[in-house]
């Protein structure tokens, strides 16, 4: 399918990517290209490789790329450490954000923000300036400042954890954000808050990959493209109406596409 924004150079290109963990092949030839301003949705059954793809883009050390490449602004990022990818503008919103007892959320956010600012050659923020910035961003996801004084994600509800992920995205201002099931575990109101936050953060220079099972997130954030994944491959790509078809027919409908590959 031709890109709607083909005049621009892609932010992220994934070409024929094969990857495995502990010798178990998971990705079996994934190809996607994300241009600035585009929103892509990836859907598929549990275990089809969606989360693995997101972790591999972010540089999780447990996965090994066996073939293919990932390019970020034209540069192969395979040899980059996870922190180098994050600093350069790749953001992964976790499906299950990790709780880290004893590490202050505020301090963690400040160190992370300054790591990104350093890469962007911006002045690093001291505690006071950072508090001003973070309070402004808290409004985007309607979070209370009391969350900042707690340990990272510790004792947060499912919805609060997801909002904390979007808060981090807002602070880090990534070039590409991969949001892995950000909508799971959210009630209707929380989903709207999170979706509204994502929309406010994204712009014409950024790309977003939404990994989701449900149409309800895509009702809030309309994707430019929808990809269906199965058994480690993209088996179908379409526009936003593909998600509606999928909702209507279920994944069995997509099995036919797999047979045709």
């Amino acid at each position: 399918m031709q890109s709607k924004t083909k005049v621009l150079d892609p932010i992220l290109e994934i070409n024929n990517l094969f990857a495995s963990t502990e010798d178990l092949p998971i990705l079996k030839g994934v190809t996607i290209s994300i241009n600035p301003g585009e929103i892509h949705a990836i859907m598929g059954r549990n275990g089809c490789g969606k989360s693995t793809l997101s972790k591999i883009i972010a540089g999780h050390p447990s996965y090994k790329i066996t073939k293919g490449e990932i390019k970020f602004y034209g540069q192969n990022i395979q040899s980059l450490e996870p922190e180098e990818r994050a600093q350069s503008g790749i953001f992964l919103g976790f499906q299950y954000p990790i709780e880290i007892p004893g590490v202050s959320n505020l301090e963690f956010l400040r160190v992370a923000t300054n790591a990104r600012r350093k890469f962007l050659k911006k002045e690093e923020l001291d505690t006071f300036d950072f508090e001003d910035l973070v309070k402004e961003k808290l409004d985007l996801v309607k979070m209370d400042s009391a969350f900042l004084s707690r340990s990272i994600n510790q004792g947060f509800s499912g919805g609060e954890k997801k909002r904390n992920e979007i808060l981090q995205m807002a602070l880090l201002e990534p070039k590409i954000a991969i949001l892995d099931e950000t909508d799971s575990g959210l009630d209707i109101d929380a989903l709207r808050i999170v979706a509204s936050g994502i929309k406010k953060i994204s712009n014409k220079q950024t790309g977003i990959i939404l990994i989701t099972h449900y149409q309800r997130l895509l009702d809030e954030i309309r994707p430019d493209y929808v990809h269906v994944m199965s058994d480690g491959q993209i088996i179908k790509t379409g526009e936003s109406d593909l998600a509606l078809e999928l909702e209507k027919h279920g994944y069995e409908w997509t099995d036919n596409f797999l047979k045709n590959i």
Partner: protein, 405 residues
């Protein structure tokens, strides 16, 4: 081990005091602890012998303190250096114990000492001269924080003894700092007696320099309705043993023990705790953490003893350990001995490595592996360090020391 030879030949001291004589007699037949005894089984023989390699006859120690006393509202004492103290204020008093009180107290204790269980104390009392014994009687409830330093001097074995009596209704923050000098050994024996209704928040911070050794023995007696909180940190010793014995004499008391030991290089640091409940309704909340890197060895052995008289005891002992290198070693053994039948006692131990998913989460936000590990480790310390009564300026120093080490 020149000291041991001298004990055997009766040549250690030319003019021993009454206490020194009693202890020497106890040690003469078996001057070394039994290596097969559970409390000494894992002790590294060559490191233990290096503890005894230094002469006790060398120069007296002179503590080089890590920070200035910048608040008048702190009582600072250095064992072995002149600190005559006799404070009688409106809300509190701190008075030195008389020689006869000190002698009687130590004599009363040592007559019950088992050679293996209290070897460290017996050696301490053989070597500790009158000058190096500090005894205080403390009363009142608006007492300024107290800091007590012990230090060894290089190429020496120094023995220091501290005896503190806390009178009824006394409430105090006490910070004890043991400083090991280069190529030195420090023997520190401490006795705390908490009368009824006292509350003592006790911090013990021990850190050494290149090739320093430490035998640190702490004996605590708690009477009814007393509360004792111990937060301890031991690091940077070639060889260190921290022996804690707490006796809730009448029950109805509360004890909290939170300790951490950090080993690097080829260090060996061990913590042994013995918690004895001798009355009903006693409470214990204990966590011991070890963090072992390089080729070091950390040991924890804890025992909780609940005899029949100690009904309704509520005790918890956890040992949590982090191995940072595949060559490091951690031995841990939390134990319960329960005779009473109406008690709540639990114990457990874990040994793990830095959590890979937590590290990845932080790295995925731009923190380097070193930064993420440091944050994770500082969170690991936090639970323990927060129990140590250290003011902000001292905490900065401690934080700096921990980061450097």
């Amino acid at each position: 081990m020149q000291i041991i030879e001298e004990i055997k030949k009766n040549e250690l001291l030319s003019n021993p005091s009454e206490i020194q004589k009693i202890c020497l007699d106890k040690l003469k037949l078996n001057p070394l602890p039994n290596a097969k005894n559970e409390l000494w089984r894992l002790s590294n023989k060559s490191k233990f012998s290096s503890f005894l390699d230094f002469s006790h006859k060398n120069k007296e120690s002179k503590a080089s303190l890590p920070y200035k006393k910048n608040s008048r509202n702190i009582i600072r004492l250095i064992i072995g250096e002149h600190n005559a103290i006799n404070l009688e204020e409106e809300n509190y008093s701190i008075k030195e114990l008389k020689d006869s009180e000190i002698i009687n107290y130590i004599k009363k204790n040592i007559c019950n000492f088992d050679q293996n269980d209290h070897w460290s104390d017996l050696l301490n009392h053989c070597l500790s001269s009158k000058k190096n014994i500090l005894g205080l009687n403390i009363s009142g409830n608006k007492i300024p924080p107290i800091e007590i330093f012990s230090a060894s001097s290089s190429e020496s074995l120094n023995a220091k003894t501290l005896i503190l009596f806390f009178e009824k209704n006394c409430k105090v923050d006490l910070l004890q700092i043991n400083l090991g000098n280069e190529n030195s050994s420090l023997s520190q024996s401490t006795y705390l007696c908490l009368e009824a209704n006292t509350s003592v928040n006790h911090g013990v911070v021990s850190y050494g320099k290149n090739k320093s050794n430490l035998l640190n023995s702490l004996n605590v007696i708690q009477k009814a309705k007393s509360e004792y909180i111990l937060g301890s940190l031991h690091f940077k010793f070639n060889y260190a043993r921290f022996e804690i014995r707490i006796n809730q004499l009448e029950g109805n008391a509360k004890t909290t023990i939170k300790g951490i030991q950090i080993t690097k290089n080829n260090d060996q640091i061990a913590t042994y705790t013995n918690m004895q409940f001798n009355g009903p309704n006693g409470i214990l909340d204990q966590i011991n953490k070890s963090l072992a890197d390089d080729k070091s060895h950390a040991i924890f052995e804890g025992s909780i003893i609940v005899p029949k008289i100690a009904q309704k005891t509520d005790a918890s002992q956890l040992s949590r350990n982090l191995l940072l290198s595949k060559y490091a070693r951690i031995d841990t053994k939390p134990q319960l001995e329960i005779i009473a039948d109406d008690v709540k006692c639990k114990h457990g131990a874990t040994i793990s490595q830095l959590n890979a998913e937590e590290l990845f989460y932080m790295r995925s936000r731009g923190l380097t592996l070193a930064e993420a590990s440091k944050l994770q480790l500082s969170s690991y310390f936090q639970e323990i360090i927060s129990c140590i009564p250290v003011s902000k300026d001292r905490w900065d120093l401690l934080d700096k020391l921990l980061k450097e080490n």
